[in-house]
Structures are given as structure tokens and as C-alpha cells.
Symmetry: C2
Subunit: 245 residues, 2 copies
């Protein structure tokens, strides 16, 4: 397996897939070099990683289009290229446009990250978009039976529609609450505890991921607009109360 990107998610891939694959990673950053040395991961150049039977792209979404174009000349004619990012319509299009038509394309979104998978990935969900693929059953079985994941099939559009609200709202609220730190840790309600636990799972995510969810998901702007308009209505209502008392 050729793995592009040894960031937070790339490392989660190494952790869970290295029992099943020899992983050849491409990531030129110094942190990746240190990580690979400590975790016995072979670092290779771009053409070598791209020429593996299975290629997994775990780089930030902003670099994905250029990366798809860069690997295109090197991928195996009947290879498989997968991505793991938080939006699916744009990457699916970039991969279809860039890669030779014999190459299989599997777009995935594991609905978890380093925080929520801290205690393992058992029963966590992965959304699988079989964009252009042979043997999808084999792959679904590997995810479901070997990795013990819950597999949902969806089109990239179905995915982006649902996740625009799921991730869009979670990350918006997490950003707002993190701006209010320090927040109380005593005299808390169950409702507040649950909300803060939820926020805690994404509060370590990069600002880049947040912006990508907000910008690269074509349905995110609409969710955001409705969120802010609910906020405005609530604020007006409370201010009317304030001035009316």
C-alpha cells in the first residue's frame, strides 16, 4: 500500500492497516521522517508510493487535486486509489478527471479521527462511495469483517449533504465554545457534559480541516446560513426582552 500523508489521520491508518499491508509512505515533512523512523514505516518517493497496488491519499484536501494529477502517470493500470477526506464530491471529481480510466477509485470518509478512535475503531462508521470500482464487495467485507467497522454506502452527493450538517454544525459550535475557554468544570449538567465531550472530540482538529469542511462541502454554506439566521433570530428575541424589561 502506498500512503500519501503521515499526518494525524495517516498515522491512524498506519496503526490499523499495518497488520494487513506493507505500507510505503510518501510525506516529505521532517515530522513524518521522525514518525516513520520510530514506527518502522518505509518512506518512499512519490512515484514509488503511487505505483503500489493500493494507494491511499491522506493529505489535506487543498492539495488533493494537484496530488491526483501528480500520481496519475505512476499509478498501476488496474490499481486502486482511495481517499479519506471529510468531503467527497470535489475529490471524487478530481480523481475521476485525473486518473486513467482503468484505475479504480474508492472515495471514503471514516467518520472518526484520532480522538474518537482513541479506544479503537470497533463499530465506528466509514462512509464508502464506490465512485468507479471493481471488487467493492471485497473491500466492504475487509472494512466490516476485518476492521470491524460499520460500512455505509453513499454517493458523494448523499455524503456531502448529510455531513454538511453533521460536521458543519459540530465544528462551528466547537469553534465558538473554544473561543469562550476557560469554561466551567464544576456544577455542570449532564446536557452540558455531553456537549463538551462532543466538542472535545473535534477540538484537536486542525483549523485547516474546519475551513475545508466549511468551504469544500458544497452544502455547507446553506447550513451555515441557516445556523447564523437562527442565531440572529434568537439574539433579536433576547434583545427585545432586554430592552422591554
Amino acid at each position: 500500500m502506498g500512503l500519501f500523508g503521515l499526518g494525524a489521520f495517516g498515522r491512524l491508518i498506519v496503526k490499523h492497516l499495518s497488520p494487513y499491508f506493507d505500507i510505503y509512505a510518501h510525506d516529505p515533512s521532517p515530522e513524518a521522517k521522525r514518525y516513520a523512523r520510530r514506527h518502522n514505516v518505509t518512506r518512499v518517493d512519490l512515484p514509488t508510493a503511487a505505483a503500489c497496488d493500493i494507494v491511499v491519499l491522506a493529505t489535506p484536501i487543498r492539495s488533493l487535486k494537484a496530488l491526483a494529477e501528480a500520481i496519475a502517470p505512476h499509478v498501476k493500470p488496474y490499481g486502486l486509489v482511495a481517499d479519506v477526506g471529510s468531503v467527497k464530491m470535489k475529490p471524487a471529481k478530481w480523481l475521476v478527471d485525473a486518473l486513467p480510466s482503468t484505475v479504480s477509485i474508492l472515495c471514503t470518509h471514516p467518520l472518526f479521527g484520532p480522538q474518537s478512535a482513541r479506544k479503537g475503531i470497533h463499530d465506528l462508521e466509514i462512509v464508502v462511495c464506490p465512485v468507479r470500482i471493481r471488487h467493492v464487495d471485497t473491500i466492504v467485507k475487509f472494512f466490516a469483517n476485518t476492521l470491524d467497522l460499520k460500512v455505509s454506502l453513499a454517493t458523494p452527493e448523499q455524503h456531502d449533504k448529510a455531513l454538511a450538517a453533521v460536521q458543519g454544525l459540530t465544528h462551528l459550535i466547537a469553534k465558538v465554545l473554544s473561543g469562550l475557554e476557560p469554561l466551567p468544570t464544576v456544577h455542570t449538567t449532564r446536557s452540558y457534559d455531553l456537549m463538551m465531550q462532543g466538542v472535545g472530540l473535534v477540538s484537536g482538529d486542525s483549523d485547516e480541516l474546519f475551513l475545508s469542511i466549511e468551504r469544500d462541502n458544497p452544502f455547507a454554506a446553506e447550513v451555515r446560513k441557516r445556523f447564523f439566521s437562527e442565531i440572529d433570530a434568537l439574539r433579536n428575541r433576547l434583545e427585545a426582552h432586554d430592552s422591554g424589561k
Copy 2:
């Protein structure tokens, strides 16, 4: 025990305290009449409920000041009057101002409601403000050992400061999200699930409770101001991005 109010929280009190007290309830509403008949609760007039050894006020906060004044002529000289509302500074002052100085006053805030106590009250928290009270140890022991609650002692001011953020933020976010219904139930993340569970625990609360938390807690306006200003900063940042791309 004289119980004022057979609303959602009054009924939770009946459920958990009727094994220990004969409860005489005052609530003139037709729903309370039906509820009392079905649950074997004795309904009495205001003077009778007020003259019990222990009087618990579980009415909306907006009616509490008038109620304190109405029961004052009837309370036992060495009786105990307790409240259970979500703010504490205002009710503490109203009770101290209205009730004879020999009457004990215990302000409490059980940090749970019908939803979060659905599976019992074991280990849930009650904040206790010993405003003017003899035998506070006996009462704390009853809460902790008999009802199995986690008891926190606080001044009304300490309480209102912490809860302005805890409840203020939870209820603000719950209001916003409930305005966005229907929200996705598939392809959800753990973070989103936790947030929605938290919101679900307060989404059945009355609008009156929401407004009371926002208006009657003297620290709520400041929390709200900071919340809205974080929202504005985030919105400006995202809009700058939108127009810059």
C-alpha cells in the same frame, strides 16, 4: 411536606420524595388536578401547603417572589422553605425578604430534570445554598445518603456564575439546533451524536425556563454577549473567505 407546583419538576419531586414524606400539593391547574388524582397526591389550598414543616417551591421563577410573599403569613415559625429553580441569587433574596426571620431557607438547584433523571437520580448533582438554615448537615445527609445525590455547597453567587455558562450555553445552542430541525440521523460522527444527546436532554424544557435562565441569572447577559461575539468573529472570518475565493 407542602409542595407548590405540580409541573414537570414537581412531579419528579413527588416521584422521589413520596417514599419519605406525606406530600400536600398546591397547584390550581386542571392538569395538576388530573395528575394528583392518578398519583395519589393530596391537593390542598395555599395556607395548608404553606403551613407544612417543610415547604418546597417548584413553581416558575417569575411567580416565586409573589409566592414567597403569599406564603409568608402561613409558614411555621421554625419551618423550612426550599426552592429548586435554575437561578439562585434572586430567589434567595426574595425568600429572605419575604419570610419571617425564624424560618429556615434552603435554596437548591438539582442539576437534572425529567429527561436526565429518566433512569433515576443516582449520583446526579444538587447544588445546595444554605442561605439561612439550621440542621443543614441533616439535609445534606438526606440528599447524599438517602437520595444518593452528589451534593455541592455553594453561595447563590457562586452558583449563578457557574450556571450562567453551563446552562446559558447549553440552552442557547439547543435553541439554535432545534430551529434547524430536521437534522441528520445517518452518517453521524461521535462528536455530533454526543452534542445531539446533550441537546436532547434540554430540548423538552419549556421556553419559560430558557428565558428565565437568560434573564434571571445576573451573569447570563455577559456569557451571551461573549457567545454572540465569538459567533460574529467566526462569521466574519468565514465570509472573508467566501468573498476572497
